[in-house]
């Protein structure tokens, strides 16, 4: 299990308790030690500089909207992206609106380079079919029943190919928002890909069902995920039966997938929960989890028992289903409903509950705006989420509400990139030419360094997904590993000694003095000027005492190395991390 580092979660029950008790001043009751207080003076790493830790100081100004949009709706700009963004309109709001419209309509986006790279990579298990059941039956047949045409039947193969394909899509795909939101939903419905060989194989199916609905409807995605082989196995519902209910899935369905812990009242009776204006319980209790567990009994998949065919497909086991009446979130579920109907009633009750809208809107705003997103944007997104819960383009409407808010384009610096975003945006900005492949030692080398950052794709161990607050990623392990990765990337070459990031080759021949080199690469990596003192640092690094207006001699290997190191420095700089 994971450490929850979600400091932003509202503490529903606590707050209510204190209000009712007339105690007020809830926050003051728990001693909050301001960040600036830290340890008593003199203690701690003794080399700490003298300074006041004022969190507001040193925060960057909000850059042009293109930088905001491309870093939040995607994995940062590639060369040419900012110019294309600027051409979208006469002013920033217009440009953002046009870019959002484009990204919300992914079918209209041409992806030639990505398609070519994916084809060249030749992944065996990716893109076999866009039909989810065809895809999962094939994955099962090839890697569980060992009939893969290549003869490589390892269950790790689909995992390893999906990891590679996910990097390539984020690095070279133009449907950037699809990639960002797919990552969001995969973490929202987190399954640890290394849970078991079944999950290693079938995770790619879950990736597909999320991609198919990423611009669509939450309720549809929710059922597709609940019925996915990976989720059924990871959270044990596949064996949950009338005789032996297993509540693992149902608990996380309420706590993580829909209502969220802020709408959990603990171990009290259902009839003690207050009702909202529409007569539905304002929150859930343990009994709702137990009752929902009964509703999902029999939701399983075919793995070769009781004549189920051994296909890996969703498989309903009616003899395992608890046929009697239930009550979930105030919804009466009569006995002997049609197959799957009990579970579908639960999913309907959850997807339509305003608490789910609020929970998910907050998470989306936290992803797309900042750690402590403005309440008005959350409220607006939640209202759309709930009002449109049955609309086929519900999620598109919710994203649009957030992305077109003024707050989206005018806030900056509350959040930093996570390691996946650092790695991908570094390769995009630096113009890396690197298609991750199977059986390629350079790919393995890259991934082993990337995995040190603590964000190895799809491997967060518990069902809550990688944290999405800066506090977690301020930890030193990911910081050091990401620095190492960035500095290694500019030094990374293939067997023929060609650098994957061709720094010198991308530098125009007219750019040869330290001043010019610094300015060119600052613009290339950051797309905006640096603070003058920081720029000077970069210039002096490049110049090493030589007059910064003098052209440098790139016949000298040391100078070429220094230029690469200068780009590495920019990738390791704080300015590269803000989002």
């Amino acid at each position: 299990m994971a450490t929850p580092i979600d400091s932003q979660r509202s503490d529903f029950s606590r707050r209510k308790l204190l209000q009712a008790g007339g105690l007020g001043a809830a926050a003051s009751l728990v001693p909050k030690v301001a960040r600036s207080e830290g340890l008593p003076a003199g203690r701690g790493p003794a080399m700490r500089r003298q300074r006041q830790a004022l969190p507001e100081k040193g925060l960057p100004a909000t850059p042009a909207a293109g930088i905001v949009a491309l870093n939040r709706m995607g994995f940062g700009p590639r060369p040419g992206d900012i110019a294309a963004f600027t051409a979208l309109g006469a002013n920033d709001p217009d440009r953002v609106a046009a870019y959002v419209a484009q990204q919300l309509d992914p079918d209209s986006i041409v992806d030639t380079e990505l398609d070519n790279r994916l084809a060249a990579a030749g992944y065996e298990s990716i893109g076999i079919s866009q039909d989810p059941d065809t895809y999962r039956a094939t994955l099962w047949d090839w890697y569980i029943n060992d009939n893969a045409p290549s003869g490589n039947t390892s269950s790790s193969l689909p995992r390893d190919e999906l990891t590679r394909a996910t990097f390539v899509r984020a690095m070279y795909g133009n449907k950037q928002l699809v990639e960002v939101m797919t990552d969001f939903w995969l973490n929202h419905f987190n399954v640890n890909i290394n849970h078991s060989s079944f999950v290693r194989t079938m995770y790619a199916h879950m990736d597909l069902v999320i991609r198919l609905e990423v611009m669509g409807n939450f309720r549809t995605m929710l059922e597709a995920v609940a019925g996915s082989t990976a989720m059924l196995y990871y959270l044990d519902n596949y064996t949950s039966s009338n005789a032996g209910p297993n509540e693992n899935f149902s608990r996380e369905l309420f706590e993580l997938h829909t209502l969220g812990a802020e709408n959990y009242l603990g171990v009290i009776q259902q009839n003690q929960v207050p009702l909202d204006d529409d007569g539905r319980p304002i929150a859930y209790v343990d009994a709702d989890v137990f009752e929902a567990t009964r509703c999902f009994t029999g939701w399983s998949f075919s793995y070769g028992v009781s004549g189920d065919g051994d296909t890996g497909l969703f498989y309903y086991r009616p003899e395992w289903h608890d046929r009697f009446q239930k009550n979930v979130l105030g919804v009466f579920i009569p006995q002997d409903q049609a197959a799957l109907q009990d579970g579908r009633d639960v999913l309907d009750a959850l997807a339509s509950h305003p608490g789910t809208g609020r929970h998910i809107a907050r998470k989306l705003c936290r992803r797309l705006i900042g750690d402590d997103p403005p309440q008005n944007v959350i409220d607006a997104a939640a209202a759309v989420f709930t009002a449109q819960w049955q609309a086929p383009d519900q999620l598109q409407q919710v994203y649009e509400t957030i992305l077109l808010s003024a707050e989206f384009r005018t806030t900056w610096g509350e959040k930093i990139k996570r390691p996946f975003e650092i790695a991908v945006s570094a390769m995009r900005a630096a113009g890396a030419d690197f298609t991750l492949r199977m059986d390629d030692s350079d790919t393995s080398s890259f991934l082993s360094r990337y995995d040190d950052t603590g964000q190895e794709l799809f491997t967060w161990p518990s069902p809550d997904g990688f944290p999405d607050v800066r506090g977690a990623w301020q930890s030193m392990t990911p910081r050091v590993a990401a620095w190492r990765l960035c500095n290694w990337l500019i030094d990374f070459d293939d067997d023929a000694d060609n650098y994957y990031v061709d720094v010198l080759g991308q530098t125009p021949g007219t750019v040869r003095s330290s001043n010019e080199l610094a300015d060119f690469w600052i613009q290339r990596i950051l797309y905006r000027p640096m603070d003058p003192a920081d720029r000077n640092e970069i210039v002096q690094f490049m110049a090493q005492g030589i007059n910064p207006d003098f052209d440098l001699n790139f016949d000298d290997g040391d100078t070429r190395d220094r230029l690469r190191a200068m780009v590495g420095l920019l990738l390791m700089s704080p300015d590269f991390l803000w989002r």
């Binding site: 299990m1 400091s7 297993n246 003690q272 603590g454 161990p461 640092e537």
Partner: protein, 456 residues
């Protein structure tokens, strides 16, 4: 070492330079004028340890309830997987007494440490908060504020902030081992978070420019935002760790750590303790305890293997630090092992267990009193929490408070565990008692009753 050394000389700040100038004089920061020198290692078993299969009834009527509730996964009394007696009533999982294959003279097992009174067990410990959520429960425990998750600091952070008996300068007060810093150290900007000291370095990139990069990095991170500050502290930590790593690590005293990240992470802690740069608090995680399915029957299977890794890791860690003379660290060491909640008494149809309530805590120390502590609440149906789970009879904060007071010499319970009152020592470790500063009532606990007035 040469490359990092070079980076260090040019890039580091004065205090590490002064430290390096001591020629690794191990007394420089490890032994100062009567300051408290104890080391607290907090191990969190993530997912909800099935405490009823770690410490289970072996006699009395509760044995009957236990066997009836766990016909498949229960730990037997006979055979190769028989429970190991802790006392007349309770037994220990048999995997706590195994040795790695092929080892020569077997080092102490965890069960040996129990018999040697280096391990105290607290039964039916936990939180009086009615919540079976992993994430809420872990947050409550690690923040030290059951019932609220908005606390900005972890309990170990507040311990370090309030301790008045620490030396004025400590290079490495706290170490959070793992990919991310644990919530118990939330807000501790001076904690170092790492997995392995050997990769906690900037020894990558074009070799001849690393030192100059290091200087530039210092300057680029010298502004005062939270990001600059945390980057700067990270650079400080790299300077420090590079001086104390690079050559790998060989455990002492024949200690044999289990393979895997838990054993590796314990070795990281042991290694940093032995560098004598002042480590006082460390956190280590060990996941994989959410055993809803296929725990293993009759004392074997997945859970047994997992307990074995836990027990071997703990025993190896103790052995490694249990040298003589200057290499004896166990007299300063206290290890606390806890999990967010226990699991249900009854096994489910998948031979697993669902989320429960009360659980076992373990305290391993050179100053442990040994034995079983706390009140066993019983397993009769009417004795269970919510008719299903082991009741909580000992607040987990009582155990931690005792370690803080008796070992760390810090009685500031009002700050560390706001709202926790009525502390008395349970007697899990030796040490000097201090009157707890547990003053005002803040709140007793989150939402322990069915009282609904608070929502209306």
């Amino acid at each position: 070492m040469s490359s990092s050394r070079r980076g260090f000389i040019t890039g580091c700040s004065a205090a590490v330079a002064a430290y390096a100038g001591t020629q690794f004089n191990t007394l420089a920061f490890g032994d100062t004028n009567g300051a408290n020198e104890d080391i607290l290692v907090s191990i969190f078993l993530r997912g909800g340890l099935d405490g009823l299969n770690l410490v289970m009834p072996i006699g009395g009527s509760d044995r009957g309830f236990y066997e009836a509730a766990r016909p498949d996964i229960g730990i037997p009394l006979t055979g190769a997987n028989a429970a190991l007696p802790l006392n007349a009533q309770l037994g220990f999982h048999p995997a706590t007494n195994t040795w790695p294959n092929g080892s020569g003279t077997p080092p102490a097992t965890l069960y040996d440490l129990y018999q040697d009174n280096k391990l105290s067990l607290v039964v039916a410990a936990g939180m009086n908060v009615d919540n079976r959520s992993h994430f809420d429960s872990m947050g409550y425990m690690e923040l030290g504020t059951p019932g609220t998750l908005s606390t900005s600091t972890g309990w170990l952070t507040r311990h370090l902030q309030t301790a008045s008996n620490l030396p004025p300068e400590i290079l490495l007060p706290a170490l959070a081992v793992g990919n991310l810093q644990q919530a118990s150290l939330r807000g501790a900007t001076d904690a170092v978070n790492m997995t392995n000291p050997d990769s906690f370095s900037l020894n990558v990139g074009p070799f001849e420019w690393r030192a100059a990069q290091r200087v530039a990095m210092r300057n680029l991170y010298s502004a005062e935002s939270w990001l600059h500050e945390s980057g700067s502290l990270t650079l400080d930590a790299i300077d420090l760790i590079e001086l104390n790593s690079g050559d790998g690590y060989t455990p002492a005293n024949g200690a044999l750590y289990p393979g895997g990240s838990f054993g590796n992470h314990l070795q990281t802690v042991a290694r940093m303790i032995k560098t004598d740069i002042g480590l006082r608090v460390a956190t280590v995680d060990f996941g994989g305890w959410d055993t809803h399915n296929g725990q293993g029957n009759e004392g074997g299977g997945y859970y047994s293997t997992h307990v074995q890794e836990l027990a071997r890791g703990l025993a190896a860690f103790y052995t490694d630090l249990n040298g003589s003379g200057a290499m004896n660290y166990t007299s300063r060491l206290t290890v606390v092992v806890q999990s967010e909640f226990g699991r249900r008494l009854g096994e489910n149809a998948d031979n697993g267990t669902d989320h429960g309530h009360g659980n076992v805590m373990m305290v391993m120390s050179g100053n442990a009193t040994g034995g079983v502590h706390g009140t066993w609440p019983g397993l009769a149906p009417e004795q269970l929490f919510d008719n299903a789970d082991l009741e909580v009879t000992t607040d987990y904060r009582r155990v931690l408070s005792e370690v803080l007071i008796r070992r760390m010499g810090n009685n500031q319970l009002r700050s560390i565990f706001p709202g926790y009152q009525g502390y008395t020592p349970l007697g899990v470790v030796e040490g000097v008692d201090l009157p707890p500063d547990d003053g005002e009532t803040i709140f007793s606990d989150g939402f322990e009753t069915g009282d609904l007035s608070r929502w209306t």
